[in-house]
Symmetry: C2
Subunit: 499 residues, 2 copies
């Protein structure tokens, strides 16, 4: 369910696997967009000078039948690295091209000097250039090695390799850093390989968006709250818009009118198109909530500062005719899709791009990354949609030949029961719908929650910006404070040289 | 390289994979015998009443290409279990039939009442009845799912299942218990799944016998020390015996004489037979060091109390003729192989039995469980033999089509760098050669070493016996004390019901 103009966006905001083919599931479709990562960015202030390298990784760390390897790409920058009391910041790449994540994680570049840090950005297998089976990586049989465990093992092996081969790196503490799914990986890397990384900054990592740990409706409730607080009656207008669309869609002339009013590139012709339209609109609202940054940002399409406020200026009056309401919805959508004024029409009908990111995440969303979502239309502004695991399972089997294992992630990584771990910072923007599945309260004095009231999806990982709200500056300084402690503790301990 | 009379022994003392076919590696062959587990035992004082159950486990926890399951066998006993402030002791089964481990872990039965504990004994996949592919489980392609990680995931899934299905079990702390390889699994289960088990008793678990963490010669040095301390000149006699055998083997009549003097069932005919003979003798000395228990024990063949002392009574004089020395060696071997007086001859020539335990461990010794061993004939009483990874790799590829990954275990489980974990007791008998690769000093105040000066291989896990030395009684009482603390801490914490 991609759109022409969004092919690049889809690469990094892949839809949930089954979303494209399940009717009546606007929520489902929207929920695939885990990656804030894919959120707008301004370049960090410092120049991004890095080397591109490749490391041979076992295709299967957990079985010995195949001993084959593939080339994992990683980026490395050591301008500010110091061998004495320095550190290594290791970005645990998520579902996309690692160069893109590198360019969008200005925080690491901004703090490199202060932490005397080498920066490493490791690409996640099956994304970007790190394709275990090249062009045929997305055949079902080849996808068997696309799991979070394999990715963590890649990171562990790569870090061990770096320490063994870079003179001076051996006795340096490594801190994992990641956002969104990459943030989950950073936290999980620390949990599963505490001998490899001394701590983790897990930004906007919804590690509890699994297996009933949080209510399935929480995500869309936060989206709704964001809209509610971004302008008078904003969420009410959206809430009412579904009925307006449904009403207009009952006649052929209504469909025609809708197509024109929304400036769609392809006219709507049937009820399935209408569902696609509503899915696409829902997804837009979700994306807006994720990327509601305080400054103008340029992500695929440029967006204004605080884009939700701008969007909501068009949605102040829910009590207008269906047609007027739809016209207002168009104005709102147009902010997101046409801030530059270049788009001639809006395209909702492209099927999903074959970009790697989208395919890989679709598979992961059918196997391990089973995050229940739902809407009820009462606590949120969307049409009601319940969570349906059976339906997902059917679709996943159809698309990939696999069945979801909805409890595996909590069995593996502990669910809420993670208090025996140490040195993980969970940061969350309160505007970010993913904060609903995040850790937003301290668990222990070394498992720390940092909340950013004015923050959208991992704003803290982005480069410093003059328009940054105070809350994100504070968050970043707390994060640096903890990282410095971890680094100091590492250098202070006698056995640091032992492996 | 099994022997007829030892088929059952081999089931539980499988030789290292390549041992059978690598010439000149007595040490290698002997070193396969990881399992103290397989050590003599007397039945615990209490009656062993348990139910036998089966749980469907995913064949592959770490990939989704196959969703098939197999039946994992486990035993469960709840006679002394109390729902109020009770506990669950979970035996992490190692490389053999779980009933056998159950019968040989009297400690758990002895402490069940005091800990109000349910006892669970979980069989390790690919051993006993828990064969993922039935009779064809040992085909190379099917063996792909035989790893320690898969076994740990089995345990985690099984514990979660028990908690979900046994009324009253949900809010109970689970403690992992294991010996030898099972002890490694217990420790690793706590490290990787601390949300699943509150602590682990890892008895005689050589978690550092990997990747150069300890000198490769340490194992055989301990065997040598044991012989040295079990009788005057005992280790000197053995040290000299290799040359005596080699000398006698230079002539056809010498081979004939040797065969007769050692009461071998099949006569020695060539130099390869001589190597097999020396391997078999070396292995016998290793086994004796592992099972040097303070009381008469009945393991496959009966053994006297402190069998090494009895053996060494025949090896007091190294300065005799080659022939006399070999005759003395026979007397010593005869204690181990013929204490009952029933054996008509000693058999060294059977090839490895096809018993499951032996096959499975052979594969594991070719993949993850790469434990470097060596001898130099100076610090030990054996013929010199260096550690040769290349040779092992060739043999493993020939036998199983796989290559060893000698550093994987330390990457995965942390090597010496495990101080961030909590609540693991590492117990070691100082007589046990496996203690050389064990944790014998406290790492933190919750990663505790308990040493048992008069203990052989996980003596502490065996049932109480009137002849137990004071040191093992003390060890057991310390173990119970710590387990009680873990149980108390669990019941005291507010969030115990959370998963």
């Amino acid at each position: 369910m991609g759109r022409c103009s969004l092919q690049l966006l889809l690469l990094l905001l892949p839809l949930q696997a089954s979303g494209a083919s399940i009717p009546r599931s606007p929520a489902l479709r929207a929920f695939g967009s885990l990656h804030l990562s894919s959120s707008p960015t301004s370049r960090p202030a410092v120049a991004l000078n890095y080397s591109i390298r490749y490391f041979p990784q076992k295709i299967d760390h957990f079985g010995f039948y195949t001993d084959k390897t593939f080339k994992q790409r990683y980026l490395i920058a050591d301008k500010y690295w110091k061998k004495d009391n320095g550190s290594i910041l290791f970005y645990t790449g998520n579902e996309g091209d690692i160069v893109w994540f590198c360019n969008n994680t200005g925080f690491m570049w901004d703090v490199a000097e202060e932490l005397k840090a080498m920066l490493v950005f490791a690409e996640h297998r099956y994304y970007g250039e790190s394709l275990p089976f090249g062009d045929s990586s997305f055949k079902t049989v080849h996808l068997n090695f696309l799991t979070s465990e394999q990715a963590l093992a890649d990171f562990a092996e790569l870090i061990r390799h770096l320490k063994q081969t870079i003179p001076g790196a051996e006795n340096q503490p490594v801190i994992a850093v990641g956002g969104s799914y990459g943030g989950m990986l950073a936290a999980w890397l620390r949990m599963k390989y505490p001998h490899i990384v001394v701590g983790a900054l897990a930004a906007s990592a919804p590690i509890w968006q699994f297996d009933g740990l949080v209510p399935c409706g929480i995500f869309m409730e936060i989206v709704t709250t964001d809209f509610k607080e971004s302008g008078p009656n904003c969420e009410k207008s959206i809430h009412r818009s579904w009925d307006a669309i449904n009403q207009l869609a009952t006649t052929g002339s209504g469909l025609q009118w809708l197509s024109k009013a929304l400036h769609l590139c392809s006219p709507l012709t049937n009820s399935q198109d209408i569902q696609s339209l509503k899915d696409w609109i829902s997804e837009t609202w979700v994306n807006l909530a994720m990327v509601d940054y305080p400054y103008e940002s340029n992500f695929l399409q440029p967006l204004p500062a605080w884009p939700m406020k701008v969007v909501c200026q068009h949605l102040r009056n829910p009590n207008v005719s269906d047609q007027n309401l739809v016209e207002n919805i168009f104005q709102a959508l147009n902010i997101y899709y046409n801030y530059s004024g270049q788009a001639k029409c809006l395209n909702i009908s492209e099927t999903a791009t074959s970009s790697l990111g989208s395919l890989g995440w679709s598979y992961q969303s059918c196997t391990e990354m089973i995050m229940p979502f739902c809407t009820n239309g009462v606590d949120d502004m969307f049409e009601p949609h319940s969570w349906n695991l059976e339906e997902l399972s059917r679709e996943c089997f159809k698309q990939w030949g696999v069945r979801p294992r909805p409890s595996w992630i909590t069995t593996l990584y502990g669910g809420r029961n993670i208090s025996s771990h140490k040195n993980i910072i969970f940061s969350n923007g309160e505007l970010d719908p993913w904060s609903g599945g995040g850790v937003t309260k301290d668990i222990t004095d070394t498992l720390i929650a940092i909340n950013i009231p004015q923050g959208a999806h991992h704003l803290d990982l982005r480069a410093n910006n003059a328009l940054d709200p105070q809350s994100v500056l504070l968050a970043r300084s707390l994060e640096v404070k903890h990282m410095k402690e971890w680094i100091r503790d590492f250098h202070a301990r006698p056995e640091k040289k032992q492996y």
